[in-house]
């Protein structure tokens, strides 16, 4: 319901939906860097796996030598050899 209201507001005011609804935004720079905006909680962090909770669910980043280069508030920059990015099936 909140999301629907947000969509209407965003559309009405011509605002980007991801900003109003705080949707996760992923920007990939080749296979080496991913910038995640609106990342909320880090759930798991190893050199091969990163699980991050976002408003849309849990995002899985798999790869080799993964490091969080920069993290402040809700923006996270992950570097390493990226192999897989997917949403984890979550039981709510």
């Amino acid at each position: 319901m909140d999301r629907q209201i947000g969509r209407v507001v965003a559309k009405g005011l011509s605002l980007p939906e991801e900003a109003v609804l705080k949707l996760p935004v992923l920007t990939l720079y080749g296979q080496e860097e991913v910038v995640m905006e609106n990342a909320k909680v880090l759930l798991t962090y190893t050199g091969e796996l990163l699980r991050v909770r976002t408003s849309d669910g849990i995002l899985l980043v798999e790869g080799e030598g993964l490091t969080i280069e920069h993290w402040k508030e809700h923006t996270m920059v992950v570097k390493g050899k990226l192999q897989k990015l997917c949403w984890e099936e979550e039981t709510r």
Binding site: V41, Y45, L66, T67, E69, H70, W71, K72, E73, H74
Partner: protein, 401 residues
């Protein structure tokens, strides 16, 4: 570029490397990030993580660690504040650094080089001395040097200068001056005069119409040597009884050499057509001329101009080709051809103004970035120059009389 400057930008603040273990690092990191603590280079370890935290945020991060029951240890310190703190303990090094940092801008306030261009020998030394008296010398304080006033003073002080300008390039000052050309002195035919050599030459022919020949064919003369003397000895029979002066005249031909050299680089910047046509309209209005659209390139080649007949206006439609600057690398043969064309032009000028060319030697030699052509012409022509007997102010070239 970004990769190069980012570390410097970050390190201005000072960062601390921290190792965390003994708790759920993920929870702690999530909380820290949510509280606005900047976390950098988080690297996982088997029993925890290492990360960099700005020095100003170490205290709130430590409090969060305690709240989450984590152990944390400072491993490294980096950045400008720590560098300063370390340097403060080495006072001599710190002083050296400060002195160096101050020396760079301060040294720029002084003149490092003064160069006088356009004169040679004692005149150059004279101008250099004047400049130093006026405050332009190596080591002078730059804000105190008024280049415009100095150029004006040079012109008023040295009447032999026709142009003076002072260029500043950083801490280098170039005083550019040009000497006045001597005004040609016309020797009246009624005045006593002699004919002297204007170049070093071998005399080939002497024809005297007034005065006494001082040289004969085959003589080697140097510039300034007398060729026809204006002094005539008065004789009574064979006995000299006195001397009179006359306006010496005649034609003295000689053989002399003219050397010429020119170098051209292999790579040259040329404006080349893009092969496209463009148009521009130029309108003449009561308030002035208006042209549109403006050419997008710096150089153009005009192809055609058509007059436009418009009511109340006169205008022109210009068709042009936009030109683009390109570096064209020429082959050695092309360069030789270009140099040879220039030499031929020079040869034609010599033929028209100086005399007949009887011989020529050509020598091409490579330079660092191009080719050098040296040509020596052997010319046969008039070598005489009329000069007043009582002065050495120059004169006019002898003419056939």
């Amino acid at each position: 570029m970004r990769r190069f400057w980012f570390p410097f930008w970050y390190l201005r603040r000072g960062y601390v490397m921290i190792r965390i273990n003994g708790c759920s690092a993920e929870r702690l990191l999530s909380r820290s990030a949510a509280e606005g603590i900047l976390l950098r280079e988080i690297r996982p370890l088997p029993d925890g993580v290492t990360l960099w935290v700005p020095v100003g945020q170490v205290r709130p991060f430590g409090q969060l660690c305690r709240r989450y029951g984590c152990r944390f240890r400072l491993l490294k310190k980096e950045g400008f504040p720590f560098l300063c703190w370390r340097a403060a303990r080495h006072k001599v090094m710190l002083m050296g650094m400060v002195l160096f940092l101050l020396a760079v801008p301060i040294s720029g306030l002084f003149v490092w080089q003064v160069e006088v261009v356009g004169l040679e020998g004692p005149l150059q030394a004279q101008v250099e001395e004047f400049c130093s008296q006026e405050g332009l010398y190596v080591g002078a304080f730059r804000p105190g040097c008024d280049t415009g006033a100095l150029a004006e003073k040079l012109l008023t002080t040295f009447p032999f200068l026709r142009f003076a300008s002072v260029h500043v390039q950083g801490t280098r000052y170039t005083v550019e001056v040009e000497e006045k050309l001597p005004e040609p002195v016309v020797v009246q035919e009624s005045e006593p005069a002699q004919v002297v050599a204007k170049v070093d030459a071998v005399v080939t022919e002497v024809a005297v119409s007034a005065g006494t020949a001082a040289v004969k064919a085959g003589d080697v003369v140097q510039r300034g040597d007398m060729l026809i003397d204006g002094r005539l000895t008065l004789r009574d029979g064979e006995v000299p009884v006195g001397e009179t002066l006359t306006h010496a005249a005649g034609r003295v031909m000689g053989r002399f050499e003219i050397q010429w050299e020119k170098s051209l680089p292999f790579a040259v910047e040329q404006w080349v057509s893009e092969g496209k046509k463009a148009y521009q309209i130029l309108l003449e209005t009561a308030k002035g001329s208006v042209s549109f659209p403006a050419p997008k390139t710096e150089q153009i080649r005009i192809l055609d101009e058509k007059q436009l007949s418009l009511p109340f206006l006169t205008g022109t439609l210009m068709t042009y080709e936009p030109l683009q600057q390109q570096t064209v690398v020429q082959t050695e043969q092309q360069l030789e051809g270009a140099l040879w064309a220039l030499a031929q032009k020079q040869e034609e000028t010599i033929r028209q103004t100086t005399g007949n060319i009887v011989n020529r030697t050509i020598h091409f030699s490579p330079t660092l970035d191009g080719l050098l052509l040296e040509v020596t012409w052997t010319v046969e022509g008039d070598i005489g120059w009329t000069e007043k007997i009582d002065g050495i102010d120059g004169g006019e070239e002898t003419k056939d009389e």
